[in-house]
């Protein structure tokens, strides 16, 4: 049952219980939407919605992701290159750019862009549907909003985020190469060689794992905020804002935790 009454917060203990309750309910929502993914894949109408969400999350984000990826690679190459040049080691910028993009910056920048572009739009759309009683109408038709609305979004994000993250890495490496070649005089061949030599398959897997986790975070937070929106247009704005802030913070924290889990000091 998605439509529920807001619980009043009366003091610090009640606020704490409320916060834990929210985390728990969001977790259940994430679990349910992943469990309902096979239904989304087997029903053609749900598949149509899944494809539409893939287009919204993936294809429509491509222009902004491309710009962000290219400039992230260029900034990384420039900053690292300037330092390495002091020791005449600028030929190694390829490895620095590749490793930092694969492990951290690729999924992180993708997560940020998707939070801003896709997560906010999801929260606003579902929030508007909630205040317009469309979610209650779905429940009254005995249609599960998690299956009907959230599962296709979760599926689309789980599919598109790793792809976009990999795309960010590739474009970032190219951007770094452009800076290396034009401003640090590092030959392309040398740049690519050091980039490939120093990258480990584990870096790629860890990056893709992060992308998957970020997809779950963005979708869950956005849908939870949307489903729990109250108080009309103001409420929709607040839900969208909360969704963006919570997703960004969670992406930052889980990014660190995953890195710490896979790389020993």
């Amino acid at each position: 049952m998605i439509t529920r009454e807001p619980t009043p917060v009366t003091g610090p203990l009640s606020a704490l219980a409320h916060a834990f309750g929210e985390i728990g309910r969001a977790g259940i929502l994430a679990f349910q939407s992943v469990l309902l993914l096979p239904v989304t894949l087997f029903r053609w109408r749900s598949r149509r919605e899944l494809v539409s969400q893939m287009y919204q999350a993936g294809i429509k984000s491509l222009p902004i992701i491309s710009v962000v990826a290219l400039f992230t690679g260029m900034i990384l190459a420039l900053q690292v290159g300037l330092e390495l040049r002091r020791y005449n080691q600028e030929i190694y910028i390829g490895s620095a750019v590749m490793v930092s993009l694969l492990r951290e910056m690729g999924p992180f920048m993708t997560g940020i862009v998707l939070t801003a572009c896709v997560g906010s739009s999801m929260a606003a759309q579902l929030g508007t549907m909630t205040v317009n009683e469309e979610i209650a109408a779905l429940e009254m038709m005995a249609i599960n909003p998690v299956r009907f609305l959230m599962a296709p979004r979760m599926g689309a994000m789980l599919f598109m985020t790793p792809l976009l993250s990999f795309y960010t890495c590739v474009l970032g490496v190219i951007g770094g190469g452009v800076v290396g070649f034009t401003q640090l005089s590092v030959p392309w061949r040398q740049y690519i060689k050091t980039a490939v030599d120093f990258a480990d398959t584990r870096d790629l897997y860890v990056g893709l794992l992060k992308a998957l986790v970020f997809a779950v975070i963005i979708t869950t937070v956005a849908c939870y905020e949307g489903f729990t929106t109250t108080r009309g247009a103001v409420g929709v704005g607040q839900a969208t804002r909360r969704s963006v802030i919570s997703s960004l913070l969670l992406i930052l924290m889980t990014g660190y935790i995953i890195t710490r889990m896979f790389y020993d000091l």
Binding site: M1, E133, A137
Partner: protein, 255 residues
């Protein structure tokens, strides 16, 4: 059919429903009237567990609605159609797709059968030409009628109407009244209508209840309601120009 047993509902420190008990009978058109904020929509939402009572219970036959969850609640809700105040049509679907939605999602009917049912539902509410339009392209009254078509397309036993005539012109309001009455007479649908519009109540209701401070202060047939001596009921009747002398024309004008 639907039974409220000592239902109390509080929001924070505000008591919206106060030990409310009543029973709806099969096939009747039950109107709940009262001033804004009296708890009319809250009462309606308790019937389908969009809200749950703080204490007391709501029953559909021998099944307690507020104790149902998951699959059981879905199954209970399939007995109901619900016309929301805002019609609550999905904005990215056409009117036809909105009406077809419960059939596509919850039945195994073929596309041809679904199209046939959608067409006859659209015809019933007088929207034969609006099937391909989006909700934003039609008027508020048409949206209400489309919402009604969606609410009845699966032949529910009970239809709940939340302010079906609010914000509509008198002509469209009477069309909706006629539809409610037709559905009741032709299909035997039990209707619960929440409204401010006493004119509409006298035209269609079999019983009228007035809610004030969480309780029904009057409950009876339109004739009994019109003859009420309760000062609040009298005030409500007078405010809408439906005094004792004015009631007879309303009752004889029933569609």
């Amino acid at each position: 059919m639907i039974r409220f047993e000592h239902v109390t509902k509080t929001f924070g420190d505000q008591n919206v429903l106060d030990d409310l008990s009543f029973e709806l009978h099969k096939g009747e058109i039950f109107h709940i009237v009262g001033p804004s904020g009296a708890g009319k929509s809250v009462t309606l939402k308790h019937m389908v567990r969009l809200l749950s009572p703080t204490s007391g219970s709501v029953w559909l036959g021998d099944r307690e609605i507020n104790a149902a969850d998951g699959r059981e609640l879905e199954e209970l809700r399939e007995h109901f159609g619900y016309l929301f105040q805002s019609a609550a049509l999905l904005g990215w679907m056409t009117v036809g797709e909105n009406i077809a939605l419960p059939l596509r999602e919850k039945t195994k009917l073929s596309e041809d059968e679904i199209e046939g049912k959608v067409r006859s539902a659209l015809k019933m509410v007088g929207l034969e030409d609006a099937g391909e339009k989006y909700p934003s392209e039609i008027s508020g009254g048409m949206q209400k009628r489309a919402g009604l078509a969606r609410a009845i397309v699966r032949d529910p036993e009970i239809v709940l109407y939340d302010e079906p005539t609010s914000g509509l012109d008198p002509m469209t309001s009477r069309t909706i009244d006629r539809l409610i009455r037709d559905l009741n007479e032709r299909l035997g649908i039990t209707s619960v209508v929440v409204t401010h519009d006493l004119y509409s109540s006298f035209l269609t209701a079999t019983r009228i209840a007035m809610l004030s401070r969480g309780k029904f202060i009057e409950l009876g047939t339109p004739e009994q309601f019109a003859a009420s001596t309760h000062p609040e009921v009298r005030g409500f009747l007078d405010a809408q120009g439906v005094g004792a002398g004015a009631i007879a024309p309303h009752l004889t004008a029933r569609p």
